[in-house]
């Protein structure tokens, strides 16, 4: 009894120290990851465009982001005369804060900074605060382009958050948990290949989530808030120097976070062959390798899309979210419920047991039936949505096209 305060203090210090170390690691890791991503994107896109990309500073130009960080830090910090100084200053802070908060629960391989029971929701709650930063930047700059960009950005983020979260629901249904830790561990079956993307519902969820994530991370073809050919730089127009760099940092860290999340939710995180067999330390390292390969592959896909396609228009963007993505993700939630019922329901539905046998992880009949049924439902949904959304060009007369009814 006399000793407990000492122990408590010790535990306190330990807790604080561990937290500080974790926070430092997240911040350093996130920033380094962002730096690497900018270099990676520029090199990759340069090769798509018959260029070399940055290759002078450091080996293979790897230190280019460092030199650019120094450049932006030493630049003059400009605030427009009529801008709302406080709001203008706080906007990048809010943006970066929201991104860094999300990193608190995002796993790195099989290593988890903190295990929140509702981790998945937490990520999207805090990244949702990006909209606040965007609106603050757009309004606080006292610039029409900035305001237009801010409004566009917010409208886009709010619209795409719905399909984004809806696309997530199947994963939550499949894993039965909102915790990223659980979701990742549950994908470790079948020699580390029990990834959710390998089921029809998971695949649909992954594709829709990826598209919505492109919009959420303001990547081409959804980079409308900062469409440089239309509204200069959107809400970033009046930002320069360090503040601009902070926006940039936040943007790329968001993309990094989205890649990590997608890798964790759909591609099994750090799971892969040999992770469990190698034990905690070696297996952990291997999981980190697997994880980064997956995340970088996803990011490469984003870069590939950026290097290929033009940008959508604002109304087309909204239409795509509401008329195309949303119905598909809704149907996908439904077919996920069917998947869960067919693969897991034992006593709840005796009829399934009678037909397909007891639910078990090696009852392949149940899985086969589930795959066929959900695949059919999802394909039908995609087909129907495409049919409804796209009238064949031949259905339109020339005059109708001229009247702008085609778009």
């Amino acid at each position: 009894m006399t000793y407990w305060p000492v122990i408590a203090v010790d535990a306190w210090i330990g807790l604080v120290l561990v937290s500080i170390i974790k926070v430092t690691l997240i911040l350093v890791g996130g920033s380094l990851g962002m730096m690497f991503l900018t270099w990676y994107e520029r090199r990759a896109i340069a090769y798509m465009q018959d260029r070399r990309g940055p290759n002078r500073v450091g080996p293979q130009g790897l230190l280019q982001p460092v030199s650019e960080a120094i450049k932006t830090m030493t630049k003059e910090d400009i605030t427009p005369l009529d801008a709302d100084r406080v709001v203008h200053f706080l906007a990048p802070v809010v943006m970066l804060g929201a991104t860094v908060l999300a990193f608190a629960v995002i796993p790195w391989g099989n290593l988890f900074p903190s295990s929140l029971r509702v981790g998945v929701l937490f990520i999207f709650a805090v990244t949702g605060l990006h909209t606040v930063g965007m609106l603050m930047a757009g309004w606080g700059s006292n610039n029409k382009f900035a305001l237009l960009g801010g409004m566009r950005g917010v409208a886009q983020m709010v619209s795409y958050e719905i399909p984004l979260l809806m696309a997530l629901l199947p994963i939550i249904l499949l894993s039965g948990s909102l915790s990223l830790t659980d979701i990742v561990t549950r994908q470790g079956d079948w020699y580390g290949f029990g990834w959710y993307v390998f089921s029809p519902v998971g695949l649909t969820a992954f594709i829709t989530f990826f598209i919505a994530a492109l919009a959420e991370g303001e990547r081409t073809p959804f980079d409308i808030p900062e469409a440089d050919s239309e509204i200069v730089a959107g809400y970033l127009t009046e930002y320069g120097g360090m503040k601009f760099a902070v926006f940039y940092l936040s943007n790329y860290m968001t993309n990094l976070a989205l890649c990590f999340i997608m890798a964790s939710l759909f591609l099994g995180g750090g799971n892969g062959p040999g992770v469990t067999a190698l034990g905690t330390v070696l297996g952990g390292l291997l999981s980190l390798v697997y994880f980064f390969i997956k995340a970088l592959a996803l990011f490469f896909l984003m870069v590939l899309i950026r290097g290929t396609v033009p940008r959508l228009r604002v109304d087309q963007l909204m239409g795509f979210a509401w008329k195309f993505l949303l119905p598909i993700v809704l149907v996908n939630v439904f077919s996920t419920a069917i998947w869960v019922a067919i693969t897991r329901w034992g006593p709840q539905a005796q009829i399934f047991t009678d037909w397909f046998g007891e639910p078990a992880s090696d009852n392949y009949l149940r899985y086969g039936v589930a795959i066929v049924v959900t695949l059919i439902i999802n394909l039908l949904a995609v087909y129907a949505v495409m049919r409804i959304n796209r009238r064949q060009p031949s259905d339109l007369t020339e005059e109708e096209i001229a009247l702008g009814l085609a778009g």
Binding site: V118, A125, T131, W139, N142
Partner: protein, 227 residues
């Protein structure tokens, strides 16, 4: 309660209340909306302190991330955005204050009256019940973390005990949504529309020379036929 926790609690309460006061006192309406976001985040942090993670996150997701943005959007779309703020307190502010105070009193006084003396006891009783439930769920041993009204309980409550209110609320929201769409649709047909070159030409070919209304704005053909 731990002193550290108490300190944090008071800091968060000060943040929440302070920004709440700022919401109603600042002159710039956008600033007021931004302070509102800060209030919401403060409330979320208070939930977090009470270990109601799910509630805290939903608070951020719904209120700080969505509702406040809608408020900001509505302000920006309906007001002159670039103008300076207007005065927020109107002449009968004290009526509003009295009403607010009366409502707050109406909630807090009976609670304190009834539970004030046995507050700590109630809290410890509730804790005991929770611990017992968690122990039972864990198969007899006391689990390390005692879950407080987690996602599962909330989900079960919404889908079980409170199914009817839940459905009523969702029906209400659907009705509101349909109403909003209807209003938007009606106004879309009456809305001023700028014709493109091709549309103008097509209209001229059909013999409709100047489809303007009395205010000089262009109206689409369909609306004309409807009238």
């Amino acid at each position: 309660m731990n002193y550290v926790v108490l300190t944090i609690f008071f800091l968060l309460s000060a943040l929440t209340l302070g920004s709440g006061i700022m919401v109603v006192t600042v002159k710039n309406i956008i600033h007021a909306a931004l302070w509102l976001i800060s209030t919401f985040v403060g409330v979320a942090a208070l939930y977090m302190l009470m270990e109601a993670e799910f509630l805290a996150i939903v608070q951020v997701l719904v209120y700080a991330g969505a509702v406040s943005i809608l408020v900001l959007f509505a302000i920006m779309l309906t007001r002159q955005i670039t103008g300076t703020g207007t005065r927020q307190l109107h002449s009968r502010w004290w009526v509003a204050m009295l009403t607010a105070a009366a409502l707050f009193g109406g909630v807090i006084v009976p609670t304190v009256w009834q539970q004030g003396s046995s507050w700590d006891k109630t809290a410890s009783d509730a804790q005991a019940i929770l611990v017992q439930q968690a122990t039972e769920a864990n198969g007899g041993t006391r689990p390390e973390i005692i879950p407080v009204a987690g996602t599962e309980e909330l989900g079960a409550a919404l889908m079980g005990e409170y199914l009817l209110p839940f459905e009523v609320v969702s029906l209400l929201l659907t009705a509101a949504l349909i109403g909003a769409i209807l209003i938007a649709f009606e106004e879309r047909t009456r809305r001023r529309r700028v014709l493109t070159l091709a549309e103008e030409l097509a209209l001229r070919k059909r013999g409709i020379v100047e489809p303007h209304d009395e205010e000089g704005a262009v109206v689409p053909v369909d609306a004309e036929q409807a009238v």
